[in-house]
Symmetry: C2
Subunit: 253 residues, 2 copies
Amino acid sequence: MQIIESNSNKKIKELAALQRSKKERTQAGLFVLEGDRIIRDALATRKDLVDNVYVSVSYASEKGVPTDNAVVVADSVLSHVCETVTDQGILATVREEPLLRNEEELMTKDRVLVLEDIQDPGNLGTIIRTAEAAGIEAVIMSSGTADIFSPKVVRSTMGSILRVPFTYSPDIKKTVECLKKSGHVVYAAHLKGAADMRKTTFEARRAIIIGNEGRGISDPVAELADIRVFIPMQGEVESLNAAVAAAILMYHI
Amino acid sequence: MQIIESNSNKKIKELAALQRSKKERTQAGLFVLEGDRIIRDALATRKDLVDNVYVSVSYASEKGVPTDNAVVVADSVLSHVCETVTDQGILATVREEPLLRNEEELMTKDRVLVLEDIQDPGNLGTIIRTAEAAGIEAVIMSSGTADIFSPKVVRSTMGSILRVPFTYSPDIKKTVECLKKSGHVVYAAHLKGAADMRKTTFEARRAIIIGNEGRGISDPVAELADIRVFIPMQGEVESLNAAVAAAILMYHI
């Protein structure tokens, strides 16, 4: 068994590049997944997604290799390419393309979440995780949304990235128009909404739009929505964190 | 008017120390607040809290000094002690002590939130912000909870730190016992709770406990709760982000 012992090994350099840069990820069509449980789950249920698995020497000696063609790497070298502080000695390169669904297919679903320009990776990952728990069937993101394959987003999804169907839309206005045509009632979370969330009846076939952390949903998109809903707020709070607002709305419905 | 032009000025070194270390904050009894709007609000409504205000030369020439005894600092020196990337040219040192309420006083409130060992500063700040919006009247934190006066928590509260009454409890188990004695029904958010949030009736005089991100509420505290509630989750999600779970529960009630 050959063990990679150097940070300047070609494969290790490729891993570091995938962790660092969206451009590198897009060119390779790969992103990096970290963590024992999630990688074993992926190998068991979505083997088609997994490109390569890397384990540290310690991991291999304690738990064995999770797949025959896993690459064994010196502990310090694996730590070097892990984003998490407490790395578990295992990471995998995963294919992006099969996870990026076809937009028309997503529009056949009843419970759709639309994200416009969510910027913070932690917020995006948390929203994907909460969306799965709330039973959202499809997530469509504007092209200005953070890269879902970046390490911090992947980590914040806690595995939901492999399970929630999602895609990016090149034209989010057109997406909302298409959703309306396909029978969805479109609700926009809006600070100046006319409808109090608590007094709003939500249709079974629906799309909810959540906007950017700072400026909310853009006017052209908000105008397309059937109903602009607001989340009631007490005190002098001006707005809620985007992931929190999304969670409250998804769960309220 | 004297302008501080050096990073090694005594006041600037003190500011840097307050930003960096909990020990320094506790010793001085001060923390740092950043941002134009929030500092002007504090000066208008809670002048007793404000120790000192520091503005950059640019800020002073554009907007004037917000208070007579504000200290003017070279732009680069102020940036040096700002935690936010896009600093607004103004920060203030604020007294911790008047913000730390008396625990018995907080127990007279009807809607209490108890936090046990929330570790992530972003989560803690977001919970405080959401708590204000949800009408929580008191937040009691275990001593193992992150430092609410650390820069990242302060920033994530978006000003709510000055408005939501809170304190730290040296013994969170005793706190929960006292809450029960003072007539609160205590609800613990628990993954293995017996009560579905949607089917639970929440009493007007109540305390909600939210636990640590990784391990949830400790067993001794969970056992003290009157009712352990769970948030229903679909898919294969194992848990929700702590700030999200807190938000869903607070708003559901």
